[in-house]
């Protein structure tokens, strides 16, 4: 499993691995928002928590197809399925690698982008915290969606359709934690809910992901 994790990380940072693309995407979405809603600081500050969360979520979504699709294309997935580690562990490891190369960097750059959207300074800590706690759920749910559509030629759009509704609870709790934190209200409750969602999905979804992979490999 360690070998798989290291390989996925290495592939992500090598040229063509797509590392950095999701960060750039996050930046561009954040820059576009003021063009859409206007530069007024009060408005931007109000929508900043939600806008940053949606931007991060879309950035995660765009990078999902590299979890399994490339391995399917070059035959690696067949070989992984016949390797001595269970497919559930493969699913969990690949989701972890995805989080380390996508969710974690997104959480770390988010405060910088928060400045662009005039995010309340008090909310910055909550933003990092909520993204750190919430993006694992996004990676695990996304891996499940990627596994469902791995057998399809152009599964990207369908995968978005399947994955985005599953992202609703994570988004709600995440954005709520940042919003409340910035306003000085009780942000601990949504943050704990968010942690609950992450823990629950991390515990359960790799099994569903492995089941979907097995079905697709037949």
């Amino acid at each position: 499993m360690r070998a798989l994790l290291l390989r996925d990380l290495r592939l992500a940072v090598r040229s063509g691995g797509g590392f950095g693309l999701s960060l750039a995407f996050f930046l561009i979405v954040t820059v576009l928002i003021p063009f859409g809603v206007g530069p007024e600081p009060g408005v931007l500050a109000r929508i900043a928590p939600g806008a940053l969360w949606i931007g991060a979520l879309l950035a995660v979504l765009l990078s999902l197809d590299r979890i399994f699709a490339l391995d399917r294309e070059d035959g690696t997935l067949d070989l992984l399925a016949t390797a001595p580690i269970p497919l559930e562990a493969v699913a969990a490891t690949k989701a972890l690698a995805h989080w380390l190369t996508t969710g974690l960097p997104l959480a770390l750059v988010a405060p910088g982008l928060g400045v662009l959207l005039n995010l309340a300074p008090a909310a910055t800590g909550w933003l990092i915290g909520s993204l750190l706690l919430g993006t694992p759920a996004l990676s695990v749910i996304g891996a499940f969606g990627a596994a469902l559509t791995v057998g399809l030629k152009r599964g990207g759009l369908l995968m978005s359709l399947l994955v985005l509704p599953l992202y609703v609870p994570t988004l709600i709790f995440g954005a709520l934690a940042v919003g409340r934190g910035g306003a000085g209200a009780d942000a601990a409750t949504p943050l704990m809910m968010l942690a609950g969602v992450s823990l629950g999905t991390v515990a359960v979804l790799p099994f569903a992901t492995a089941a979907a992979l097995r079905i697709n490999l037949r």
Binding site: F144, L148, T149, G151, L152, G155, L158, L161, L162, L164, P165, L166, V168, P169, I172, F173, L176, P190, M193, V197, V204, L205, A208, A211, A212, I215, N216, R218
Partner: protein
């Protein structure tokens, strides 16, 4: 003779063929009676006026929309555990019916909400949950239609239905947490204090029975079509092998 005998397509076709006309007629009669009773023979609500009468469409559609997903969940589970093909086809057949019911519930809700709350749409928890349910139906149907190989499609949609159900419930709680809304509480639970009066309740019950029968009839008819289509597919394959 066990219940599972009906999982055999031949027995299913025979039984459903006999039941279907009764269900269809029952649905038509009940819906017609319930709507007529509700629209013309009940008094107007003292606060909501005549707008309340849309309840005879809105509530039954919402009921079927949710229970349609439940039916899909049960059918998917039966397919994944016992591998009865009819079960997978029932799940497939139920999805578009449930989705249309969700749309009806949303549309009638919007029409009702306009005079009552002064807006077509509000991000009220119940409305939002139904909108999310609609998205789940959409994804489920899209996955079915995207995969050519029938058994793979049945398996993957079954897994999606299980996972989706958990997330649907989770979303419901998340949405409640997110926004306390305008929507009136459940007014049909048996012990609620603020329940609808009996004069509204009886025609509503008839209409709900009609909608449930309509759902069953449509699902049966669609399943029969799916079985015939599958059979045609198999016959073609057989021809190619010979």
């Amino acid at each position: 003779m066990s219940l599972w005998e009906y999982a055999n397509p031949v027995r299913f076709m025979a039984l459903s063929g006999r039941v279907l006309p009764w269900l269809a007629w029952g649905a038509g009669l009940c819906i017609a009676a319930g709507l007529f009773w509700g629209f013309f023979l009940t008094p107007e609500d003292y606060r909501q006026g005549s707008t309340v009468k849309i309840i005879y469409l809105h509530v039954p559609a919402a009921l079927v929309a949710i229970n349609g997903w439940l039916a899909m969940l049960v059918a998917s589970l039966i397919w994944l555990v016992r591998r009865h093909h009819v079960s997978a086809l029932v799940a497939r057949a139920a999805a578009p019916v449930g989705m249309v019911m969700t749309v009806i519930a949303l549309a009638t809700g919007a029409i009702w909400g306009q005079p009552m709350w002064g807006t077509w749409w509000a991000w009220d928890p119940r409305l939002t949950s139904f909108l999310i349910l609609f998205l789940f139906y959409l994804g489920y149907i899209a996955l079915w239609s995207a995969i050519e190989e029938p058994e793979t499609a049945a398996d993957l949609t079954g897994v999606l239905c299980l996972v989706g159900s958990v997330f649907a419930i989770l979303s419901r709680y998340a949405v409640n947490f997110w926004n306390q809304g305008l929507h009136q509480g459940a007014s049909l639970s048996l012990d609620a204090k603020e329940n609808v009066a009996d004069v509204f309740w009886w025609p509503l019950l008839v209409s709900m029975a009609g909608f449930v029968m309509l759902f069953l009839a449509l699902v049966l008819a669609r399943t029969r079509t799916e079985i015939r289509a599958r059979r045609l597919h198999v016959l073609r394959l057989r021809e190619r092998m010979e």
